[in-house]
Symmetry: C2
Subunit: 519 residues, 2 copies
């Protein structure tokens, strides 16, 4: 009865690495004819526990019918799962039906409407980081947090749990600034202006950004039109030390491993959980070493936040958590009624940014103004700057060409992009159907249109706006041009306009919604 | 600009079937070095749309680093996705980032607390059946229905939607009976007694059952100890016509495709949505052609339903939906304070069933009594049976050996099991820690213990109870024996008892919880 260890147990399988990247979900592959376990005993999508000499990992099961992927006496593991188990190919492994992670009890209680404790949030996040949650379990957690909501203490606990489970950067400076927009406004590329301005002022602003997931361009995608953005951590540190800033891709997996995997599940679901968003933003910024953070909340009828009441509630929640995490945070509520600048899509947005930096008279003034205001507020984090002086300092830096010079320094330091990206040559113009004034531009639809046209993957794809809110238009006058690189994308974009309209509302002056601007 | 169709578009990839069964989730595999699309442009877990000459399918993306699985110019599809697309290997396909299915808007509204319409439930279920939902989207739908609950109209709509999206059986008889227990009580194998009794009475009872997913044995697993249970539909139909009944595995995918895939996501999450459960049960029974259905709701401190109030609410909900679906339904509320019979696990449960059928004086009386009462109620569906006479008829059929004869007929017809399964030879006894009376048995813990010991995969594994509620015990007297087949399972089960206790509460008579029995 105690022959274990001396001979392979009757359930031994040989471990095999299957080179499939399932994005941090552990997946196990078992051949349908697996001699020892009829695969039916488990069922596809079951969770199994894999055991190598007491080292255990959970994985979701996929059943395989091709012995080239896994043979009947092998257990295949996806790359994440294989790396996590840390055993070599050929090792004898045992598998068994897995119980769900213990912290799922807390998730189920959250689904039932309970409030969770600090310890429970920590346990959930730790299990997620350790790969013990299936994607569906993460989805359940996210929906539970969205549906009954998180109270402010719960948001704090979640933030703390997410911060605790990742690595931290330390810049060894007293003031490390950052800015972050909650998103939803196409063309809103202010970071590419705020960073050079603030860095030129001498304040440390090591900005790392994400690539677009559901939007037509992230800051990283747009910056990549001009420079390399995927830099090794050591290189990034050098650049920041020399130039006081950077505009790089975050690759946040190390700093915020829980957030990284939760976002991958949450975004495609289109969930909108304020608590989850705040925990995600603040834990990432804290892990990246920020001490001072400016949050931009755009408000408008087609923005993420649609009323001032909502924006204020969100601001309070940001403040509550930041205060308890010892982060100096300020929130600005900005005009989110329409896209910022003209271009939507990496190449077109990069063009707008460079026009502003070059003080080109053609530069979009709304982008310039917004960037100056944000940069001004960040500069006022500097204790030596008198309240209210930030804007003037920022404007001087921009007008004098020092911001452009800083941007060029950053581009050279990160590595100037060798490929020349141009706006997509295919496309079509969308024209006004009547005379009048532009009284509404649908952020959501225009973002979608730019994506349909191929952005952000095709950097030249996107939408170039000729008219903004309040502009008079005549019937037949072009409102915007869609740029695409491939005929199929162009068609796809055309179909969207045909089905959903062009996103513009033409009316008379009195119908223009009023802006909520708080800074 | 209109060269499409004449030559492959720049984004053309060749289709490849990847023999991985992802259980009805469409998964696409793209090589990381895919020349046309840098895989990073999409991100693993993104949803992509696959287009072959206008035929479109959605799939979740996995990124592959092994050209043996897919090459850089190929698009691999999991078996489900490949079959769904219906194109042959080598076909040129286009892919693009997919929008979530339109009906996800309804899911998000449900998450926000809205009530959904009949049309919205239909759209969600149709999209799920068509493979347009990722597992995470299904999890979101399920959690949303659990958390804010479904009102009774929504349960009806969901039932109708699930029924509409599958095939239907028609037995061409006026009265097709079935029984169903909502589950949660180990050892509760009454179907294997009710079916032979009712079929011997001459009533049609074509019972198909599931295999265990989270329990230590389903009726199909236990019946398989005695006979074949996986039968082709035509064979099943013949058996039912000749013998008036069957005890087979459901293979419900055709009849209730939505339920099949939702359950695969729901069960591992351990969600407990009454509305979802009712829709699942009733749509499946209606699709299987049932006209008369008896529902068994066990109530007890460790049962799924823990109070009479809850049981009554559930009964009303069953009745509401059944009445509107033109199904004759009756609900019995039964004693769920402890496991039924002695054995837990396929072999041990099959032994109990056969003892009852053989009128063995050792047969567990609780199993016999419960089966007779249920069978009696089913028999009373017969308009020729006077109300209150069902029990006596059932008892006569059992006592006379006609039920045993019918069971043997079914076993022969389905194909007698050629493999002899015996109780696992490893294992251990669990003994009373003090003198007293058994005042509590934890259904949930004992089910888990039987699973840890290897049930239902190892048919001989499980738990054999020696003591039930109210039995006096002396310190050191065995309460039950755990049977296992493999040393590792035995150890796993031992560890559970060490950690969580043995599931028995010993006290004095007055502490025994009272039973709620309504029939």
């Amino acid at each position: 009865m105690s022959t274990m260890g001396e001979q392979p147990t009757p359930k031994g399988l040989r471990l095999k690495r299957v080179a499939i990247d399932t994005y941090r979900e552990n997946v196990a592959y078992l051949h349908r004819d697996c001699a020892l376990y009829r695969a039916e005993g488990f069922q596809a999508l079951s969770k199994i526990e894999i055991d190598v000499d007491g080292q255990r990992t959970l994985a979701v099961l996929n059943v395989v019918d091709d012995a080239a992927i896994v043979g009947p006496e092998e257990l295949g593991l996806s790359e994440t799962a294989f790396a996590r188990l840390g055993a070599s190919e050929g090792t004898a492994v045992r598998i068994s039906q897995a119980e769900p992670p213990v912290s799922m009890d807390a998730v189920r209680r959250k689904i039932d409407g309970d409030r969770l404790t600090r310890e429970e949030f920590h346990a959930v996040i730790q299990d997620i980081v350790a790969g013990r949650y299936a994607k569906t379990e993460m989805a359940a957690f996210l929906v539970a947090c969205t549906q009954n909501g998180l109270d402010r203490d719960e948001v704090l606990y979640l933030t703390q749990a997410m911060l605790k489970t990742g690595e931290h950067l330390d810049w060894h400076e007293r003031l490390v600034a950052d800015k972050h927009c909650i998103g939803g406004i196409p063309g809103n590329r202010t970071s590419m202006l705020v960073v050079p301005i603030v860095a030129a002022h001498g304040m440390l602003i090591p900005k790392t950004s994400s690539r677009a997931i559901t939007s037509p361009a992230g800051t990283a995608d747009t910056m990549e039109v001009l420079a390399e953005v995927e830099l090794p951590p050591e290189r990034l540190r050098e650049i920041v030390q020399v130039h006081r800033g950077c505009l790089a891709w975050g690759g946040t997996a190390r700093l915020a491993p829980a957030d990284d995997v939760l976002i991958a599940v949450e975004r495609p679901l289109g969930l909108d959980s304020q608590g989850q968003m705040i925990a995600s933003i603040l834990s990432k910024k804290l892990a990246a070493g920020s001490t001072h953070l400016l949050i931009d909340i755009p408000v408008g009828p087609t923005a993420k936040v649609r009323s001032m009441r909502q924006a204020l509630a969100l601001r309070k929640l940001f403040e509550f958590v930041a205060d308890r995490m010892d982060l100096h945070l300020e929130v600005v509520i900005t005009d989110g009624r329409q896209p910022i600048g003209r271009g939507i899509g990496p190449v077109l947005e990069a063009r707008d940014v460079m026009q502003v930096l070059q003080n080109d008279p053609e530069a979009p003034q709304d982008l310039r103004q917004k960037a100056l205001r944000l940069a001004g507020r960040v500069i006022e984090f500097d204790p030596d700057v008198r309240g209210g002086q930030g804007y003037a300092i920022a404007r001087d830096i921009l007008d004098s060409g020092r911001a452009l010079a800083k941007m060029n320094d950053l581009i050279e330091a990160q590595g100037r992009q060798r490929h020349h990206f141009a706006p997509g040559e295919l496309g079509f113009e969308v024209r006004a159907e009547r005379d009048g004034v532009v009284v509404g531009i649908d952020n959501f639809l225009l973002a979608r249109l730019a994506r349909y046209a191929g952005a952000p993957m095709d950097k030249g794809a996107g939408v170039d706006l000729f008219k903004k809110l309040g502009d008079p238009v005549e019937q037949g006058e072009p409102l915007y041009r869609v740029h695409a690189q491939f005929p199929a994308d162009e068609q796809f974009a055309r179909r969207l306009v045909a089905q959903k309209g062009n996103g513009y509302r033409i009316g008379n002056d009195s119908e223009i919604p009023s802006a909520y601007v708080e800074f």
